[in-house]
Amino acid sequence: MTTEQILETLRAEFGGAVRGSANPSSGRLLVDIDRSRLAGTSRSLIKAGGRYQVGVGSDDRDRTATFGLIHFFAFDRDGFSVGLRTSAPVDDPAFDSITPDIPAAGWTEREYRDLLGLVFPGHPKPKKLITADDWPDGIFPLRKEVPYNLVPPSTADVAYQLDEAPPGTTCVPVGPFHSTLHEPAHFAVYVDGETIKGCDYRGFMAHRGIEKLCQTQVGYNEIPFIAERICGICGSVHSVAYCQAVEMAAGLEISRRAEFIRVICLELERLHSHLLLIGVAGHLIGYDTVFMHAWRIREQIMWLSEKITGNRKTYGMVIVGGVRRDVTPEIREEILSVLKNLEAEIAGFEKAVVGDSLIHRRTRGVGFVPKDETVLWSLLGPVARGRGVDIDARRDHPYAAYDEIEFAVPVVSDGDVWGTIVVRLAELFESIKIIRQALDKMPAGPILAEAGEALPPFRPGWSMVEAPRGESFHYVLTGEENRPERWRVRAPTYHNLQGIPRMLLDNQFADFPIILGSIDPCFSCTDRVAVVDRRAGRTRIWDKTELDRLSRSRS
């Protein structure tokens, strides 16, 4: 199937409701449709094999006197992505809810209910998602008249109303702080004895409003550094996705060498992220030995990243137009030698994990979701690939230099937590293969393309990057003051978290930590907030050498 065929199908089915279309880039289609047919066209795209990606709401009152909404759908088999663009007049900002058909859209609609004041008649759960419990009604932070640093007075006596507990169950509060979570979030788990019968989620407790900040305060070139602080683990994913979206919108070609360096950064990140998660998974089932060894193996990647970029995390490597540091011949040798060591250590580690029958007993059949529901909930990354859904943005929507690299996409049909772990273990070896190929195939050349003039305004661009946790989606609409008019970030956890209540259903409470852990939840991604590590009350100043020595002597 092609974008043209999709357009024809929509035209044939909905006639005049299809107002126009645009092909901003190859594999990208935007269709303008009438607001009244939004639900119908969305359904039709899902029927045609589309996967719901995310919705982007925007305040376009100054330009067109409307509120805009775009729902994006990916056609992974055919390598393109379609946006259904529509708008509503200011005095009636209502869009038919598509959540009854596409449950994965639930959060998008709740998000714009909170942030833009849009209304979604027919939404099954029109509750607060993002703004704080005591955020006053009628102030919608993403609207243009609201300043980015507005702090409304807080009130003490408002609380989020959790869902009604199903009859015969008791509520176990997991959160806002709980040792399973590592970040603030609140799961109200309804248990009957030890069996989970339902779950309500209240998160976004650390929403920082990065999108608003970047749309109003900083310029294109600063945003990558803010983007890489969205996530606590991924230092390149968000900045690559953002830069690619801007590059697409501006029609900017970047050098091939820079694309290969981006691939190396992204895959190093996948290596350390997967090892981190497998370690954490061990900890969550009470197997700290797995945890410690996974993190020991991971540590050499962190040191390597520090050598390449100057930092263990928040690398500052990726900027619009290319990357900031080159891979020198010495670094190349260093990477190869670390990879060799890594491969041997991971092979031994994998054997130990796969051979441990108790790990099988704790993860097999746990958090089971059948394939069709995995697709319905738009689950992403290893969470989907462990459930038989064969999607991977690196292969389906090639970006950077992935089109030149050969790699396998491991998919298993287990459908449970074990499947997601198997997939991640296999991906470790694929990542090592990818980095080796990238080092071999990397052409010489500049690492930064100069953007000539100011970027043209109001051009859309969106890009998908396969983060360790699944597809990261960034949408950029270029603006006039050297900054995006609209920048929308959707991390993979945004979808995977929505699927958690389904994964938990009828499992044992003892399995809650590992089921939640199996999506490798990154609340900071969904909350879009940086993790601040503040060592309060320290009387002694540690310099870098000492801290290095300290952390290394303990590992």
């Binding site: 008791t170 176990v172 509060p173 399973t180 009470g286 197997y287 700290d288 945890f291 003892a510 399995d511």
Partner: protein, 300 residues
Amino acid sequence: MRYAVPFVNLVCFLALAPLYEGLLRRLTARVQSRQGPPIIQPYYDLLKLLGKERLDSAGTWPFRLAPLLAFGSVLAVVAVIPFGGRISALAERMNAVLIIYLLTLAGAAVLFGALAGRNTFGLIGAGREMATMIMVEPILAMTLILGAVKIRSLALTAAVPAAFGASFGFSSALMLVVYLLALQAFVARQPFDIAEAEVELLEGPFIEYSGGNLALFKYAMMLKQMFYAWLFVSVFLPFLRTGVYPLDVVIQLAAMSAVFVLIGLVGATNPRMRIDQAVRYYAILIIAALGAVGLGVGGL
């Protein structure tokens, strides 16, 4: 002489229980390629807890009494056991069932505390603790009963010490295997640290406890695991005896550290089981333990 035994028991156990705990931690760290805390860290931990505020979150007397009850019952067990092969003066008229009573009382105290605390996580932990007690205590009972069957007496003075010295037959061998398989459950270590399960239940029954109360519970747990190590040494390794009391004490303590090494290694190389999986596992052990007693009755 026999009047000195309870004091020797108490001093040895109270002084050394945290050291064994430290050994466990250190060993676990080594398996996990960590350096680990100093071996005397558990002493510091207890001292630190004693200096912390004791929050009385439930505000009821069972909540305050539970740690004392747990600690007291374990101390009572320690005082009556024939540690170092000598019979305690306190144990002359007691029978082996008393040990089971006292240990169950210590477990029940944990339950009282959790129920009085009325914390959701504590209650779930209490449920799991109860299931574990029901399934694990019979195995302990069978171990003692097997000794009693062999010498045809339930007297504590006779049932435990060298119960199998006379005839180490099939029944003893089977019971040895069962005891080893249940050892981690006795001491509530992985894969059977289910009631406390840090990542899900946040220490379960102990969640509401702090300061000195928590220290008492922790101390009681350390003493309890030392008791189970001693019971293993005393029941299954009766030949480790010289007849010289101080020397026997030292030998038993050394053998107990070997048991702790085993506990540490198994604990570090296993994930936590779910309670439903664990209960099935215990059920098999109970049947095997019954079989061992049957064999013992048959004189094997």
